[in-house]
């Protein structure tokens, strides 16, 4: 067997890792091989030298300070525990949130409803009032408006062939103003 293999065994032996069988074989080889014997001696000195390497001199105060600093770091790294909240307050907050949400929803819905209704009434009445005011005593303008109104009624009521008798409830859908205008118009037509 080559000396290279024994060199590996010498290293294992210094670490106390060589099995007895190999150790006997190594001892026999070392007795015969001066080169390996010299190599073993050098490694043994090397091993001995490692035990004499200088170490830093550290006092008990240093170790106290070391532990203190470590403790500080550990404390600051710990997550802060969440404050426990009684079950009653959890439910109270949930209920308050739900009531608030419902109230806001209801208020929004009511405001939408009243706004829509108000706008409709306002627009209708406002338009009729504005037109009536605009016409005033102007007979020509009144005539133009009446013809426009009639043509509009004819259009929405099914065209010129439409007869009021087809829908006896047509009057129900007309306002007082419209009925008055229609009445005036009919009187004029009757006269002419």
């Amino acid at each position: 067997m080559s000396c290279r293999r024994y060199e590996k065994w010498i290293s294992d032996e210094l670490d106390g890792m060589l099995v007895e069988k190999k150790k006997s074989a190594l001892d026999r080889h070392l007795a015969e091989c001066p080169d390996c014997g010299s190599y073993r001696e050098r490694l043994a000195r090397l091993q001995e030298g490692t035990g004499r390497l200088p170490q830093p001199g550290l006092t008990p105060d240093y170790w106290s300070d070391f532990s203190f600093r470590l403790e500080q770091k550990i404390r600051s790294a710990e997550p802060r525990p969440a404050r426990p909240q009684p079950a009653f307050w959890k439910w109270a907050w949930t209920a308050a949130g739900a009531v608030l949400l419902f109230s806001l929803g209801l208020a929004f819905w009511l405001s939408r409803q009243s706004a829509a209704q108000g706008n409709y009434i306002f627009c209708f009445e406002d338009s009729i009032d504005n037109i009536s005011e605009e016409i005033g005593d102007d007979a020509d303008l009144e005539e133009v408006f009446n013809s426009l109104l009639l043509s509009s009624i004819e259009e929405h009521g099914g065209g010129p062939a439409y007869h009021f008798s087809d829908d006896p409830l047509i009057w129900e859908s007309l306002s007082e103003e419209e009925i008055r205008i229609l009445e005036t118009s009919l009187k004029k037509d009757t006269k002419s």
């Binding site: 060199e7 590996k8 290293s11 294992d12 490694l43 030298g49 390497l53 200088p54 001199g57 470590l70």
Partner: protein, 195 residues
């Protein structure tokens, strides 16, 4: 509080620390602080860096406690953290500056003098120690780590393998190679010095 834990085994303390006991972790840190510091110092040769890295090692261990599965001992686990942090640190440091500048500026404490050696041979031994220190630091990281754990910390090849995450055989080969490199570099010293 720590006094109550004096009799607790490492496994018990590690289990308690895993469950969130800061006191149990502090007791483990107390047990291993010196060993961790010294092994890091063996690599860095700088007390300030060794202090920082030892603190970082324990902090990392504390933060990772919940991931520690206790398949290995706490001792093996924390050594692995220390070695990995230190080797990474040295890699960065090596890039940043030359190694020659790096080892300056710290004071050694004399190792106790062996009664086996005369004063003359002691000075030679001291020189050997300094040369050896330099030679060990010049080893590739994997060989240096194996050599430090086995020769300085007295670990078996199997224990060192667990720390380094390699097999017992790999450690054995690394030790063999490391010794060959060291004895080649220190041949004049290891050949001449006689007890």
């Amino acid at each position: 509080m720590n006094n109550l834990m004096d009799d607790f085994s490492d496994d018990r303390l590690a289990h308690d620390a895993k469950m969130g006991s800061r006191e149990a972790f502090s007791e483990l840190a107390l047990r291993y602080r010196e060993r961790i510091y010294h092994i890091i110092f063996r690599f860095t040769r700088n007390p300030g860096d060794a202090d920082d890295l030892a603190q970082e090692t324990f902090m990392m261990a504390y933060k990772s406690m919940k991931h520690f599965e206790q398949k290995s001992s706490f001792y093996t686990w924390i050594y692995r953290i220390a070695i990995n942090l230190t080797l990474n640190f040295l890699k960065k440091k090596k890039k940043e500056q030359g190694r020659g500048d790096y080892i300056e500026g710290y004071a050694y404490t004399e190792a106790p003098q062996s009664p086996l050696f005369s004063p003359e041979t002691h000075s030679e031994r001291k020189e050997l120690g300094e040369r050896m220190d330099e030679a060990i630091r010049s080893l590739p990281a994997a060989y240096q780590a194996a050599f430090v754990l086995v020769s300085f910390q007295g670990m078996t090849h199997a224990q060192a393998g667990r720390v380094l995450g390699c097999s017992e055989n790999t450690v054995s080969w690394r030790m063999h190679k490391a010794r060959k490199m060291l004895q080649a570099k220190l041949k004049p010293f290891v050949s001449e010095v006689r007890p």
